[in-house]
Point group: C2
Chain length 124, copies 2
DNA sequence: CCGACTATTGCGAATGGTTCGCAATTATGC
DNA sequence: GCATAATTGCGAACCATTCGCAATAGTCGG
């Protein structure tokens, strides 16, 4: 909790109820969730606030974004990882990250998003 | 042209005007374009048909999808490559692909999408 | 602890990219 | 050519996301 509060304060933001609620949901999540899904799971927080919280967390590199189907999905950024998703049934596994972002010397503050898709054992 | 026609036929699809038009635009494109942008550049083809063509080409692994901002952008799948995009000004560079998709033996037909973002030399 | 100053929220409507349903059209194999 | 199935065009519908603004809530100095 202090970690989040400090990180927000450092960037000139406050730790508020909606932000905390979103953060908690993401910590509990075992897989990426869409903004919609998060909104439905969090009672008492407005839809727009969920989106705003997610955008902020993304900006601070606290969450990762992954596009699954037409929707953006969100999950904690740490530990660095990606997902491999079954195109047929949506089954999803974590994949450890092995990228070397130092390869791009002329860009600074490089971050990345990798999504793998395929057919899982059941659907192959 | 034959290449595209054969590929479509193999999957039980026809080579039609709209599909050809979209394909040509993508070949000419030096960078990924959104469906909207492609639609605006292609006269005489309905919006829905552009979307349908893109979905089909994506399904056949002939084009790659990249999410930039809120929109999906499309570009030719070959040669395999990715992009690094400036978060501030949108400047974009190609990055050669160095992924080994054989790492996932339990999934079949694995494909992937990597997007790098950072601050370009001008914006850093 | 109090007030003031900002950041933030909630709300409901608007936005805008994408998809749908269906009749009319077109490519393909025989 | 013809039959047949795939595909298109159209315009409305969808639905995730964003906007504008008044009301609210953190935070910081005193």
């Amino acid at each position: 909790m202090e970690k989040l509060k400090e990180r927000l304060a450092r960037a000139g933001h406050k730790l508020t109820g909606p932000r905390w609620a979103v953060w908690q949901k993401l910590i509990a999540a075992k897989q990426p969730f869409s903004a919609q899904a998060l909104y439905q799971q969090i009672k008492g927080v407005n839809r727009a606030s969920v989106y705003r919280a997610l955008h902020l967390l993304e900006e601070l590199d606290l969450v990762n974004v992954e596009v699954i189907g037409q929707e953006k999905h969100y999950c904690l950024a740490a530990p660095a990882h990606h997902h491999i998703i079954c195109r047929n049934c949506g089954y999803l596994e974590k994949v450890e990250c092995t990228h070397d972002l130092g390869r791009f010397p002329h860009f600074s503050q490089v971050s990345h998003q990798l999504t793998l898709t395929g057919l899982c054992p059941k659907c192959r």
